[in-house]
């Protein structure tokens, strides 16, 4: 079993577009963009791959932050960016195909922006 070496670089939101452009210039493909709620903040991971070398850059934002779209650099990013808005309510500006909240049809608006589980439950797997 071989596990991949993965690097995650935290960056400021202002560095996002130049970084992503650099990844494209270096010949990386966009693997995914994903969001995770951590406390009151949201981590957005942009993952890239070239020849099975996996690299990740991360911005940490609040829900009212306006995140610039990278769909001008990687055209296919619109699916991830629309998903982030629909599930977390984080606005992504300048998406090439903006569904304006209708990409997913959820019963609860921005359903992933709240944590519903019980906190501090002890792990029973002992």
């Amino acid at each position: 079993m071989t596990f991949e070496q993965q690097t995650t670089i935290p960056i400021e939101i202002g560095e996002l577009l130049p970084r992503v452009e650099q990844f494209k210039k270096e010949g990386n493909r966009l693997v995914q963009i994903g969001c995770a709620k951590v406390g009151d903040l949201f981590e957005i991971n942009y993952s890239f791959d070239k020849d099975f070398v996996f690299q990740n850059v991360r911005i940490t934002v609040t829900q009212d932050t306006k995140v610039p779209s990278i769909s001008g650099i990687y055209w296919g990013a619109f699916v991830y960016e629309n998903e982030i808005f629909d599930l977390y309510g984080i606005t992504v500006t300048g998406i090439n195909i903006d569904f304006k909240g209708t990409f997913y049809k959820t019963a609860v608006k921005h359903a992933f922006s709240v944590t519903t589980g019980k906190e501090d439950n002890p792990c029973l797997n002992k």
């Binding site: 079993m1 071989t2 596990f3 991949e4 993965q6 995650t8 494209k24 493909r29 966009l30 693997v31 995914q32 994903g34 969001c35 995770a36 709620k37 951590v38 991971n45 993952s47 099975f52 996996f54 990740n56 990687y74 055209w75 296919g76 619109f78 699916v79 629909d86 195909i97 569904f99 209708t102 990409f103 997913y104 049809k105 959820t106 359903a111 992933f112 944590t115 519903t116 589980g117 019980k118 501090d120 439950n121 002890p122 792990c123 029973l124 797997n125 002992k126």
Partner: protein
């Protein structure tokens, strides 16, 4: 410029087992633009990590998809095992690889059948699904489940397969191989199939790469992207070469899947030759604390399970990026310029699994 009209395609359509909607912008009979739309079957499965302990969640991860179910559970447990630094027994790695390839074969045979049906070849459809039964029977005999196996767990697998049974499985696959060859000949050499598919829905190599294509959609455009090459499970001990075609059209994507059936048989055969004796699981205690992007090659392409944990029984986040989700932008690209009558065939060639894509 002729007048543009918009034709809605889906979410219900004879070739779509699952709902995706496409607004096709047409000039005469030619598609000039496409707006995709999903969201009909979003279940929010990822959110359940907040209510289910990370060991129980394997069953939910497996139910993301009814076809590539086993590989979803495998990718999830690989991620947890990496975070917790769990040494899984060798035999379990080989068994996981064998079941992964069985899953690939049953998915590809399902697709080949549906694809033939989509083109009007009902007898080929029935033949492909008849052969698929052999694969499902072996999966059921060894795991207890035909499509949802429930055999993967954090720390190994729940069931062993005896060495005698493994030999029997290889023997059965060798017999199946002859029948698969006959089926393959239809897809590779039948004139009606090649004239229906060649030169239709072309995706060039550069577009495939930068639009995020994966799996047979990428390999049909000349990209050698196959996550099995990264060596997860027992793939680092197996010799295989990803099937790559360069034409980038519907025919190339079909040929990749057809040929991959034989690669899977070869991989299973190698695994059975090399599998060591020993335990199939280890005891796991505690909870994960850390994060990992676990990647694997599903029948439809690269899947990514992002796992973030903080040492409690519930994960902080489980995020799945499925192959169909990332194949939507390439689908938009390859539909542009095709004739309206070819749209169903082109859509089928990415092997869309929308339940999987929306989770």
């Amino acid at each position: 410029m002729s007048k543009q009209v918009i034709i809605p395609f889906g979410p219900q359509h004879p070739v779509l087992p699952e709902p995706i909607h496409l607004d096709l912008v047409l000039e005469d009979e030619t598609v000039v633009d496409v707006i995709p739309s999903i969201g009909y079957v979003h279940r929010g499965l990822e959110k359940l990590v907040e209510k289910r302990e990370y060991t129980e969640y394997v069953f939910i991860a497996e139910r993301i998809c009814g076809i590539c179910s086993f590989i979803h559970s495998l990718t999830y447990v690989n991620g947890i095992e990496q975070i917790m630094k769990i040494e899984v027994p060798e035999r379990a790695h080989y068994l996981r690889t064998i079941w992964s390839e069985y899953s690939r074969m049953h998915s590809h045979l399902l697709w080949l059948g549906l694809f033939a049906d989509g083109m009007g070849f009902e007898s080929v459809f029935m033949n492909a699904w008849r052969l698929r039964e052999h694969i499902l029977d072996d999966l059921e005999a060894t795991t207890g489940g035909r499509v949802i196996q429930g055999v993967c767990k954090v720390g190994g697998v729940r069931r062993d397969i005896t060495n005698e049974k493994l030999d029997e499985m290889v023997k059965g696959l060798k017999e199946l191989e002859r029948e698969l060859q006959k089926l393959n000949n239809v897809f590779l050499y039948d004139k009606s199939i090649s004239s229906r598919l060649k030169g239709v829905g072309v995706l060039n190599k550069e577009d495939a790469y930068y639009l995020g294509a994966c799996g047979p959609t990428a390999r049909g455009s000349g990209l050698e992207i196959d996550l099995r090459s990264t060596g997860y499970s027992a793939y680092d001990r197996i010799n295989f070469k990803p099937v790559v075609e360069t034409a980038g059209d519907c025919y190339a994507r079909c040929v990749v899947r057809s040929k991959e059936l034989f690669t899977s048989i070869d991989i299973i055969e190698q695994c059975v030759k090399k599998i060591p004796d020993g335990p199939v699981d280890v005891k796991v205690t505690g909870a994960p604390n850390g994060e990992y992007f676990s990647r694997a090659e599903q029948p439809r392409g690269e899947v990514v399970h992002y796992i973030k944990a903080d040492g409690k029984k519930n994960l902080v986040r489980h995020r799945v990026r499925t192959p169909t989700f990332t194949n939507i932008p390439p689908l938009v690209k390859l539909l542009k310029g095709v004739e309206l009558a070819d749209v169903p065939v082109v859509v089928l060639t990415i092997d869309p699994c929308i339940g999987c894509a929306e989770r």
